[in-house]
């Protein structure tokens, strides 16, 4: 087995891993990023919904049980950029109350930080990345610097749906997006062609290939593709990690020694690695003295609401994420039976095919009925998408399956059932959405089935080592030189898209690591 040595090894070249890599390489650390998927470049990103499927996870297979799916393939990514290479760039911030829902409402658990702790990092990340939006119009937004770029333009699709919200006495604001509306830091502005899901080869939609990975490599970080980490290695005492074992594309095993290990390989894979790294001193898996590694998995219940209009809407124009935001029903209690927040993203640019495409909006139609529907819908179908808050439940869990992959590593098994509150919110928000569509003047109105967006939890952060896996800096309680990147550390789900927050958390944690390096290294 070949051996090697670096200061920091980062497992996963996605959103969180790229931030860690940039900060640590720029501080002079030797950094190696091991990515299990292929190397990707911007010119690999063909404008095609069919092609886009290769950006997502296919193997190793994830076994599932429970009443709902977390959509482990659709929500994930493989290769340089990870899931962020095909994400839609909806970047709202968590709200102040999201961090303290136990203290404020007696529900779930608190984060070990407050909004004010993360705000400076949100502000800095938005400058790095280039977020477009209108902070003043976003009346629900917590305090923070104004966006560096103006909002995306509004097309007839957005105008039409905004009228529906207005008729219902509901507010809309430009959707905050990690999409450039003007040239910014050497990157081109968006041309609003709706190919975001296929990956943005111009770099107008921020992804790791255009923001943090170039910074990392310019500072000397090495990106190594097709390197599948199989175990995190630890010392004899079991109190520190010493590196990782990985298989190369030929299946040959290697050992990479490191002072610090960052797991940023998506929460399912992070948990699989921790559990598969059990040893004499950690029989239940690394960093698992709490017994909570793998638990409290969450996923945002989502619903798409559709309407057919008489007029043409130019629904092919814009960005996949949408044009407007609504968070009027953010208040977590006192709005019906369910606890939790809700969010609408409004007027998504649509394509004819694929999972979120026009034809799939009416999956019940086929043959000539489908033909007739398509002829009309490609010009006049409107769509908006809500996500709602999911509550963490210990029973929702990632564990190791009996079966093994090609590296003899147990597969991951995810058990997930949406929380009762999440289900109630879903029903409520679907009803609201149809009312808005009607107010906007739609003729036929319908909603899609319950979907699931964004996988969170599994390695939750907290102050107490008995009830969480990491501390407020995503540093595991059990092993001070092992950090976790990504949404796995979220203790609660909120009802906003998580990518902005995971960037802010990664920046905060990476700088903590940088500034406390001497205490981490022995």
């Amino acid at each position: 087995m070949a051996k090697d040595q670096v200061d920091v090894v980062i497992v996963g070249a996605g959103a969180a891993g790229s931030v860690y890599a940039a900060v640590l390489a720029e501080s002079g650390k030797s950094v190696r990023v091991l990515e299990g998927g292929p190397p990707r470049r911007l010119d690999d990103l063909y404008s095609s919904q069919i092609w886009a499927r290769r950006l997502k996870w296919a193997t190793p297979h994830v076994a599932e049980s429970g009443e709902h799916s977390v959509w482990p393939n659709f929500n994930s990514g493989a290769g340089f950029g990870g899931a962020a290479i095909h994400h839609y760039g909806v970047w709202p911030r968590l709200h102040e109350d999201d961090f303290k829902i136990h203290s404020r409402y007696g529900r779930a658990r608190d984060w070990p930080i407050e909004y004010k702790d993360l705000q400076p990092y949100y502000d800095r990340v938005q400058e790095d990345v280039g977020i477009s939006g209108d902070a003043e119009a976003e009346i629900w937004r917590p305090p923070g610097a104004a966006y560096p770029l103006p909002p995306v333009p509004v097309f007839p699709h957005g105008e039409t749906l905004a009228r529906g919200f207005a008729a219902m006495d509901m507010q809309v604001a430009p959707l905050p997006l990690a999409i450039l509306t003007r040239p910014y830091k050497g990157r081109a502005a968006c041309i609003y062609d709706g190919w975001c899901d296929a990956g943005c080869p111009t770099g107008a939609l921020a992804n790791p290939l255009v923001v943090y990975l170039p910074r990392a490599t310019q500072a000397g970080a090495e990106l190594q593709a097709d390197s599948h980490v199989t175990r995190v290695l630890s010392n004899r005492q079991g109190d520190r990690v010493t590196g990782v074992e990985y298989a190369d594309a030929a299946g040959e095993l290697h050992e990479l020694r490191a002072e610090v290990v960052v797991l940023a390989a998506f929460n399912i894979e992070n948990v699989r690695l921790l559990l598969n790294s059990a040893g004499d001193k950690a029989p239940d898996g690394l960093a698992n003295s709490s017994g909570l590694v793998g638990h409290y998995v969450m996923c945002h219940p989502s619903v798409m609401v559709f309407g057919l209009f008489d007029e043409e809407l130019q629904n092919h124009m814009g960005v996949t994420a949408g044009q407007f935001l609504n968070q009027d029903k953010w208040q977590k209690n006192g709005q019906g039976e369910a606890f939790g927040s809700r969010q609408w993203a409004i007027a998504q640019a649509v394509k004819p095919n694929d999972f979120l495409g026009i034809a799939m909006s009416r999956a019940d139609l086929f043959h000539k009925d489908l033909q007739r529907f398509m002829e009309r819908a490609v010009k006049s179908m409107a769509v908006m998408t809500a996500i709602t808050e999911d509550q963490p439940q210990r029973s929702n869990r990632i564990r190791l399956a009996e079966r093994r992959d090609q590296y003899n590593m147990p597969l991951a098994h995810v058990h997930y059932t949406t929380s009762a509150d999440g289900l109630l919110l879903w029903k409520d928000v679907a009803k609201d959405g149809k009312a808005v569509m009607a107010a906007a003047g739609a003729g036929e109105i319908w909603n899609g089935p319950q979907g699931g967006q964004h996988i969170m939890g599994g390695t939750v952060m907290g102050d107490d080592r008995q009830s969480s896996v990491t501390n407020a800096f995503a540093q595991t309680h059990d092993m001070e030189n092992l950090f976790i990147g990504g949404t796995g550390v979220f203790p609660t789900s909120s009802a906003v898209n998580p990518t902005y927050t995971l960037h802010a958390l990664a920046l905060r944690s990476a700088e903590y690591m940088r500034d406390n390096w001497a205490s981490l290294v022995r």
Binding site: W51, D193, A363
Partner: protein
Amino acid sequence: MALTQSRRSFLHDAGLGLLTFSLAGTQVLLTPRQARARSADLRVLDASEVGILEALGEVLVPGAAEAGIAHFVDQQLSVQPNDCLLMARYMNIEPPYADFYRAGLQAVDELARRLRDTPFPELDEVAAVDIVRGFSNSSPEGWQGPPAPLVYFLLRSDAVDVVYGTVEGFAKMNIPYMPHILPPRNW
């Protein structure tokens, strides 16, 4: 983009080794529609399965057979799961995906034989539509195969892909394709 078309074509063709079909022992790059028209060799599915798939595709989305649904699916089933472009990967179907397709196609054909005493590809249009409607929502009694609604959903998606999801499909619906990087060979 600064890429030249030749470089793009090279990258795409290399990446989509997927679109390499065999014609009389020679490897050629074709669209699935062309592959069907030229009777390119099949790699995974047999003639019977292709017959069922084309007939079913045509019922799901008229035009799917001629658009090459069978050659598209067959070719995608022949590549590694991480390179596969079928919607099956989104639905967390466990590879190899060919197992799912074979079982699903066989179940559809058996349903037609049981209810109509006729192989699915030989049904008339009205009967074929009726059979599909019968398994689109739930698995009919005696159904032997993967969950029928999942078979319906995924094969319908494949048919939608080849008919509506291509440059040609967009053009037929008069939707601007507006690519950043045009996917050569329609995919």
